[in-house]
């Protein structure tokens, strides 16, 4: 570990902290329908969209209406994307002449982009036409991100409102987040990426002569525009198979920094928006701090782990001060790779700039734990906030009793219904992550997709279901999952991981909004201080840790001890 490495991490943190408040304030105004500096440009567009779609911007929905709107929108989006992939060969903007995507892969990919997962059982440059990339995948990159944020806003409204029946209008929230937040930031980011050398073209692939005189086809496409929303919307689906490790997707250290900042930007700003909406920015900063602490622990462990050298290589005479450079890009080095891996799994991005499978065992465990906790460390745009708040509800429910009052969070009593919905949402992650992994391992066919042996092979399978259920989409690599069984089960995993959290979350929003708000007094548990931060972090680590301890022990933990005893898998 080096001083420069830590300074990189510190710089990154400073930028995220600096963005949080102004962007949070801006988003608060956008969702309240207030005038912003972008209103002159997008106001007419917004009204035009409502007029065309027949949406009454003033009419709000209850939680069921909101959920139905979201589900219908997802279903239509799924069908459109699936169809587009199946018929891409007959459509224009297909410079590389890609053929139709097979049904199971098209289904898996459609679900993947719809749920903000962007798990990719394909290589972009060898499977998808430019039309699918732009009109299919990129559109869902915007829409899944916007839907996630909309759910979070509706969830926060549940806390902010009192004795209310409505939690907002899904169509209005969706439109506003896309127009006022996602599009403007993406335009700026795209220009910056192009400036840094990222391709942005609809032209054909280029043939180049290599130094040895061989001919190599260089894949190109509208990369920069895709890349912006991939990061900002915590989607993570790469244009190319190598994702952000590819020199066209992440050419320089600067683009790497921008990409990492973009992943956390909206998640961080949402904590501030949350604070503002519930009437106290301190509440938002408490959430921010808890998330920040969990991030720092993760990045610290991962950076430390990767700064160690693999003892097997040291035994062969390698200089241990190099650390573990296997699977990392030289232009990023260890700190930026460790940070990227932590950021991308804290949030539900899933873009990678290094091979997670090549991390040392404990290093590879950090992304896994981040995802097992439900990606609530800033998290997927929107989903991170409501996922975190679900844990906050559990923490407040258990420990809040210890102040001698029935538990309340932000003035809302937490009662049987909220606990039931919270447990449903929290339960679905281990169900999918552990249940599907166990199933895949005992069935006769699926284990064939695993390339490594022993605990490392186990980690490959576990990582796949953990990544999909948490809607991350990053892969441990090494798993050849483009088979009907894996495509199907991973698709189901993504859907459960998304919708079985969203629907209980919206139900909680509905019942919270209907409650009265108890004014705080010196007898209420303060949820904006260090005590609350420590408590929530503790509950998240203990709940997550207890659930996944056996699995982790059989994967990375045993691998770690084996490695130091001289056994590699």
């Amino acid at each position: 570990m080096t001083v420069i490495g830590w300074l990189q991490i510190a710089l990154y943190c400073a930028i995220v902290v600096a963005i949080t408040r102004p962007l949070g304030g801006f988003m608060t105004r956008v969702f309240a329908g207030e005038r912003t500096f972008l209103s002159p440009v997008f106001g007419p567009v917004e009204r035009g969209i409502y007029a065309m779609a027949g949406v009454d911007a003033k009419a709000e929905q209850g939680w069921i209406g909101y959920a139905v709107g979201m589900l219908v929108f997802k279903l239509v989006g799924f069908l459109a994307l699936y169809a587009l992939m199946r018929v891409q060969a007959m459509l224009p903007l297909n410079p590389a002449g890609q053929s139709a995507v097979p049904p199971d892969l098209a289904y898996n990919t459609a679900v993947s982009f719809l749920t903000n997962t962007n798990w990719q059982n394909y290589g972009g440059e060898s499977t998808m036409s430019d039309l699918v990339q732009m009109a299919g995948l990129a559109v869902q990159n915007f829409m899944s991100a916007a839907a996630g944020i909309a759910i979070a806003v509706a969830f926060v409204r549940g806390f902010a409102r009192r004795s209310a029946r409505h939690i907002g209008n899904f169509w209005v929230d969706l439109t506003r987040i896309t127009l006022y937040v996602l599009l403007p930031i993406c335009v700026v980011m795209t220009l910056a990426f192009v400036w840094q050398g990222m391709p942005q073209t609809l032209g054909a692939y280029v043939d180049a002569a290599t130094l040895e005189g061989a001919r190599q086809t260089v894949a190109l496409g509208p990369v920069a525009s895709q890349e912006a929303i991939k990061m900002l919307g915590t989607n993570g689906g790469g244009f190319f198979n190598a994702n952000s490790a590819h020199p066209f997707e992440n050419p320089t250290a600067l683009t790497n920094l921008i990409q990492m900042v973009a992943i956390f930007t909206l998640g961080a700003a949402l904590t501030n928006m949350f604070g503002r909406m519930v009437g106290s920015e301190r509440q938002g900063w408490a959430v921010f701090t808890a998330m920040g602490l969990l991030f720092l622990v993760g990045v610290g462990v991962l950076y430390w782990s990767e700064s160690q050298a693999n003892p097997a290589l040291v035994a062969l005479g390698m200089d241990p001060s190099m650390g573990n450079m296997e699977g990392k890009e030289l232009r990023f080095g260890i700190p930026a790779s460790a940070m990227f891996a932590t950021v991308t799994t804290d949030a539900s991005c899933g873009a990678v700039n290094a091979m997670h499978e090549s991390f040392l065992p404990l290093g590879g465990m950090v992304p896994m734990i981040n995802m097992m906790l439900g990606e609530i460390i800033f998290g997927g745009v929107g989903s991170g906030l409501y996922g975190f708040l679900l844990f906050a509800i559990v923490a407040v429910f258990v420990a809040g009793l210890m102040v001698g009052r029935t538990p309340e969070y932000l003035g809302k009593k937490i009662e049987a219904r909220e606990v039931k919905m919270t447990m449903l949402a929290i339960l679905c992650l281990p169900l999918v992550m552990l249940g599907f992994t166990a199933l895949a391992l005992v069935l006769p066919g699926p284990p064939a997709a695993i390339s490594a042996s022993g605990p490392h092979g186990f980690s490959e399978a576990l990582y796949a279901y953990v990544s999909t259920a948490a809607n991350n989409g990053s892969a441990f690599a090494g798993l050849s999952a483009n088979t009907p069984y894996w495509n199907t089960s991973l698709g189901i995993s993504m859907m459960i991981g998304r919708f079985f959290v969203i629907i209980p979350a919206l139900a909680i929003a509905g019942s919270m909004a209907a409650k009265k708000t108890v004014p705080p007094s010196s007898g209420t548990f303060p949820t904006d201080g260090a005590l609350f931060v420590g408590l929530v972090v503790g509950v998240i680590l203990i709940m997550g840790g207890l659930t996944f301890f056996p699995a982790l022990a059989l994967g990375p933990v045993v691998e770690h001890y084996a490695m130091h005893a001289g056994t590699l898998f």
Binding site: F397, A399, A438, P519, L554, Y561
Partner: protein, 692 residues
């Protein structure tokens, strides 16, 4: 039945009372019945897996399996886990049962003298009385059922209900008309209209409540049960997937070891003690001579944001006291004191007595015997609002300033009119006293206005500290009084309440409660009169005084048998204590799991991944002893925590943040650390005894 042998409800019963312990052990086995146990999801699950492992053990026993001794021990401790949970509940219930037994003795078979339509009476068993029947109860007889006195007045010994042997007066009309079945008339004869249906009398309900028969899970308890069930499901997933992972790793695991891991992980500690905590909370109230009609009310008490307290009896001593004699110009203070004392000699009200005492203290005027002086005492009446004495042709009067003035001006008008200046001065003094929160009483001797007696409300000692304590707990106190706003404000300031409601009418009281509730707050109040009933019903915690009317007792959700309105404060503390105990043990239970993982996981996987012995940070001697120690600790911790569950976590009014920090440290951090020590110690014992 002799009333002197009746135990008071709050009779002390300790946990180590053998009268409770022995039956509780029997109960613990009886509660293994799955029909009873399934109300407790966590322990029900433990029972199911215990049955499963027992069957497997018997199979192995028959077929000659290996490690039978180890399997037997695990089985025994699994069953102990369930039994300990049942035992905890039985002990908690046992304390109530002992009290119920003493109440039952009051419910002896009595005969009632029912009034027939023709005016005569007939003797029928009390149990066949219907609502609306009218019975006669004479001195020495037991009142057959709950009812209302419609004729007569009697002193009644209510020791059977309240434990208080001093008789109380019950009379027709007004707020003291309710009588309770099982109590005894000591003097006179009363006519009572029965208001309770057979089997649902106050005594019946009390017995059911203290016995726990009528106990239903409270809202927070239900929510907590859902959380515990959810966590149990999470651990089902965590444990049930292990065999697949192990098989992939080339190993295999026995069902017994998986069950041991599962049972130690699920929140058995809080699952076992949850209902005991609830029963003990109700029981603490009962021993405080307060009956909560539902557990919901106890929980709500912990949540109370606003306390409505009646001024009289709660904040101030029941009565005002004279503190000064303030004569008008030209009158000697001694003369005023003398006249005031004379007018009060036969005034048996506390105010009157305090005037006599004050005159003696200040001017050494001794009380005189009225009979000696040949005086004629004029009693206070609501019309005249004055009292006094006629003596040697003097007419001394004291009373409300307006009334005395009107009296003097009316009688003196024809003779010597009272000087305008004297009237003005008298009014000025009265005004000054009223502003300071006191009550002025004017004194006149014939046509002469002498001056004013300053009566003052005496704030109870320590009540101000109590209110600041409540403020630290986040509870707002509102004083309810019939006084005018000026007086009320002065007393409120002196007592340190946060707010007051002056000239309170039942409607205003109800309005205030609704307004507070509209802001999302929970309100507690106590009351006794029939006109309190709507407010008692509206309040989240309504404590009815046992001396109150039937209507008030029906409307409230708690009854205070001692009829002490100050208890509202303790009731809130008991509610908070109940919730805190629940939270503390839940936190402890969950925090315990970390150590159990470190005990069992390395032991479990050691056969195929010996590298994991690095996780054996407690250095437990063998895999068997590790697993056995974890499950023994898991069972014993239940027993160890029974006293805490019954006694409750101590509540301190130090504000939520400090309270939480303290409890998190004790039960959260303590819960993390305790099992590391406990399991290690048990492991050493198990190894030393050669058990595994």
């Amino acid at each position: 039945m002799s009333d002197t042998t009746l135990p008071r409800l709050r009779a002390t019963t300790t946990m180590l009372d053998t009268a409770i312990l022995w039956p509780a052990i029997g109960q613990a086995f009886r509660k293994l019945d799955p029909r009873m146990l399934w109300h407790n999801p966590v322990m029900f699950v433990v029972e199911i897996v215990s049955v499963l492992t027992t069957i497997l053990f018997l199979r192995d026993l028959a077929t000659g399996g290996t490690h039978l001794g180890f399997a037997l021990q695990i089985n025994i401790w699994l069953w102990f886990t369930v039994l300990f949970a049942n035992f905890a509940e039985a002990v908690a219930e046992g304390r109530g049962k002992a009290q119920a037994a003493s109440l039952r003795r009051a419910k002896t078979e009595t005969m009632a003298h029912r009034l027939r339509a023709d005016g005569g009476t007939e003797s029928i068993p009390a149990t066949s009385l219907r609502q609306g029947d009218i019975v006669l109860v004479a001195a020495g007889e037991i009142i057959p059922s709950d009812g209302e006195v419609i004729e007569g007045v009697a002193s009644v010994n209510e020791a059977a209900i309240t434990g208080e042997s001093a008789p109380v007066i019950r009379e027709a009309g007004g707020d003291r008309s309710a009588v309770t079945g099982g109590t005894q008339v000591m003097s006179d004869i009363i006519k009572v209209r029965i208001t309770a249906a057979p089997g649902s009398t106050f005594l019946d309900r009390m017995i059911a409540l203290v016995e726990g028969a009528a106990r239903q899970k409270t809202p927070n308890e239900i929510a907590l049960n859902i959380l515990l069930a959810g966590m149990t499901l999470i651990f089902v997933l965590a444990v049930a997937t292990i065999p697949s992972f192990a098989t992939y790793a080339g190993g295999s695991l026995t069902v017994l070891v998986l069950v041991a891991l599962f049972v130690t992980l699920i929140p058995t500690t809080i699952g076992a003690l949850l209902s005991a905590i609830g029963i003990a909370g109700m029981d603490r109230l009962v021993r405080f001579n307060v009956l909560a009609m539902s557990g919901r009310a106890v929980e709500a008490a912990g949540d109370v944001d606003t306390l409505l307290l009646d001024k009289t009896g709660t904040i101030t001593l029941g009565n005002r006291q004279a503190t000064a004699f303030l004569p008008v110009a030209g009158v000697d203070a001694r003369e005023l004191a003398d006249a005031a004392q004379l007018s009060s000699l036969s005034d048996e009200t506390p105010e009157g007595r305090s005037i006599v005492v004050l005159a003696k203290e200040l001017y050494a005027l001794r009380g005189r015997e009225m009979a000696h002086l040949g005086a004629h005492f004029v009693a206070f009446s609501a019309q005249t609002r004055m009292s006094g004495v006629d003596l040697d042709g003097r007419q001394i009067r004291k009373g409300a300033v307006d009334s005395v003035l009107a009296h003097v001006l009316a009688t003196s008008a024809n003779e010597r009119p009272v000087a305008e200046a004297v009237v003005r001065e008298l009014r000025a003094i009265a005004e000054r006293i009223a502003t300071s929160g006191g009550t002025p009483l004017a004194v006149a001797d014939g046509h002469r206005l002498l001056g004013i007696i300053h009566l003052k409300d005496i704030i109870k000692g320590g009540i101000k500290e109590r209110f600041s304590e409540l403020r630290r707990m986040g509870i707002r106190t509102v004083m309810i009084t019939g006084d005018n706003p000026m007086t009320a404000a002065a007393i409120a300031a002196e007592a340190g309440v946060d707010d007051f409601l002056a000239q309170a009418t039942p409607e205003a009281k109800l309005g205030l409660i609704r307004q507070e509730q509209g802001q999302g707050k929970l309100v507690a109040m106590c009351g006794d009169g029939t006109n309190d009933a709507p407010a008692l019903a509206q309040a989240d915690v309504g404590v009815a005084m046992n001396t109150g009317t039937m209507a008030a007792r029906e409307a409230g959700n708690m009854v205070d048998l001692d009829s002490d309105p100050t208890k509202l404060i303790e009731i809130v503390e008991i509610g908070k204590q109940l919730l805190m105990t629940r939270g503390a043990l839940t936190t402890f239970s969950i925090a315990n799991d970390v150590a159990k993982y470190f005990a069992i996981i390395p032991a479990m996987f050691l056969a195929f991944y010996p590298q994991l012995s690095a996780l054996n940070i407690m250095y437990l001697s063998t895999p068997q002893s590790a697993i056995l120690s974890a499950i023994i600790f898991n069972a014993l911790i239940i027993v160890a925590l029974i006293p805490l569950a019954l006694k409750g976590v101590a509540y301190r009014p130090i504000g939520a943040a400090s309270l939480l920090r303290r409890n998190l440290l004790v039960y959260g951090v303590g819960g993390l650390a305790a099992p590391f020590v406990g399991i290690k110690v048990i492991d050493m014992l198990v190894t030393a005894l050669g058990l595994a």
